[in-house]
Amino acid sequence: MAINPAIDVAAEGLADTPHGGWRAAVADFCRRRPLGAIGAAVVVLMLAVAVSAELVAPYDPVAVDFGAMLTRPGVQHWLGTDAFGRDVLSRLLYGARTALLVGFGSALMGATGGAIIGVGSAYFGGKIDLYLQRLMDIFLSFPLIILALALVAILGNSIPNVIMAITIPMIPRSALVIRSSALAIREMPYVDAARAAGFGHARIIMRHMLPNVMAPYLIMLTAFLGQAILLESSLSFLGLGVQEPTAAWGLMLRGAAVDFAESAPWMAIFPGLAISLAVFAFNLFGDSLRDALDPKLRTL
């Protein structure tokens, strides 16, 4: 497996100690970068909530209760109810599931797709590199949201399709960054050595190039996580992402939340706070990770 040594490389970079091991690396990260550790803790907490939404949520997120429409936050409903009497807290908790699913799905695929294209482009160089770069330039000329909107219109708006629509605009952005790291690696003696030893392109790329772009890869990945969640909420806010009655944060801000904003502000406030907190946590963690792995690299 090519992946394991790669992660070890990253972990060593984190801890700055060559033989620290995983636990020591994590402890060191927490000690040196408390903000990053807080971000990571919030992310873990959200993951736990998203996975166990059935257990944590006090109500069924899609259960309509016309007797309890627009209830103020209180003992019965901690964060109030929406225009259909659905419990806002429960919808937020289930919404975390949608957000994280789309976030992790598209960030993982976007960063990975970009890594493959970026490394391939740098490794083969010449014409392939030129054409791939031009192609990436073309996709980079579209604002993220415009491309995602067009893709959702083509693919439809089930969760897997929304993930795809967010992934595709991310690929050229990660390819750009990872290519520039890979260009430097291509010139390393060990790549020459591998070539001299007669290894095939696939093996050199998988075993020698990819593991060494792990630092920018992980940085792009964490940067994308927050962006993907924001993009997902934007799409569903426009009514073009995940559809009702699925619980999604952007969707909760749509329609009634704005119409009843004055009389029932909790409907507009809490989902926005959830989005902000989630993205904030990912960015906090991502920033510290970047500082630890590669302070020279700039994301956003």
Binding site: F142, I145, I146, I154, L253, L284
Partner: protein, 317 residues
């Protein structure tokens, strides 16, 4: 230098052409077409002959490559045809909306610059102190807060605190500047905050890099006043990447305000794009994408010129 710029200039066109091709294909893959949507609308019954007659009128019966050739021949003369949905010329559809989006983008840029440059510089000068941490948290929060939600919060706050709502109907600035600003300042603030976060982070990291350069040490060693070191040596050199980020963000804002425009009921380019996609208005989508991508590509070119102008190492390459 001229050779370099000429090459850069020439490179804009293949990219624009690529954008045109990609858009042309993408929008034709979207299920349903404009004729069907306009005539059949809500499941009204329309004969196939009628649909086909309309398609022939728009040239939609032609093979895609021929449609493309016809379209690009017009686009080369900046003639983007008429909207397939409303039938009015594309330029008439876009003009006022572009003015609106452009103004919001410009105002957001002003907000962002006014926030970002002082904050970024201070954070860099006081690196790893509470000032730095506060600025960083403020800017990470800016990246995390969706502008459209911030917009909702603004409206809500104005409504609850002042019992006042910003005007909901767009007045061009040349008609009534006061009315215009009262409406557009809120989206500009909401978008400007996020935008400033991007620029603050860039200012901070560029300043940190520059402050470690030898020429700063030299300037300090020769006893130059700190203020002059900052303004004349540090800031000047740190501004290049910051300007790039600002320019790129600005270019994206013109088309990328989709969601904020929805919140503030602004009939801008972004909202027009959403409507155009919903109507499958091929000519309008195509023109809007070319406009937005064209501005982005042009901005990139202008940045190249600026870099070449400011940095002799690029100029003589």
């Amino acid at each position: 230098m001229w050779k370099y710029l000429l090459k850069r200039f020439a490179l804009m066109f293949p990219t624009l052409l690529g954008v045109a091709v990609v858009t042309f294909i993408l929008i034709r893959v979207i299920p349903g077409d404009v004729v069907e949507l306009r005539l059949a609308g809500d499941r009204g019954s329309v004969s196939d002959e009628m649909l086909n007659a309309e398609r022939i009128k728009f040239g939609l019966d032609q093979p895609v490559w021929r449609q493309f050739v016809t379209w690009i021949a017009g686009a080369a003369r900046l003639d983007f045809g008429t909207s397939m949905w409303t039938g009015s010329p594309i330029w008439d559809e876009i003009r006022l909306r572009f003015a609106l989006s452009f103004q919001v983008a410009l105002m957001s840029t002003i907000v962002a610059v006014l926030l970002a440059i002082p904050l970024g510089v201070i954070a860099a000068l006081r690196q790893d102190t509470w000032v730095d941490y506060t600025v960083r948290i403020f800017s990470i929060a800016g990246l995390a807060t969706p502008s459209f939600w911030l917009g909702i919060v603004f409206i809500l706050a104005l409504l609850i605190l002042f019992k006042w709502l910003p005007p909901m109907v767009y007045t061009p600035i040349w008609v009534n500047p006061w009315q215009n600003l009262a409406q557009l300042i809120w989206p500009a603030l909401a978008v400007g905050y996020r935008y400033s976060a991007v620029a603050t982070r860039m200012t901070r990291s560029a300043m940190l890099e520059v402050l470690r350069e030898d020429y700063i040490r030299t300037a300090r060693a020769k006893g130059l006043v700190e203020k002059l070191i900052l303004s004349r040596h540090a800031l000047k050199n740190a501004m290049l990447p910051v300007l790039t980020v600002i320019a790129i963000e600005f270019a994206f804002l013109i088309g990328g305000l989709v969601v904020t425009e929805q919140v503030f009921n602004l009939n801008g380019v972004g909202l027009l794009f959403v409507q155009a996609v919903a109507h499958r208005d091929y000519t309008l989508i195509q023109a809007l994408v070319m406009l937005v991508a064209g501005i982005f590509i042009l901005m990139n070119f202008l940045m190249d010129i600026m870099y070449a102008w400011l940095d002799p190492r690029i100029r003589y390459r």
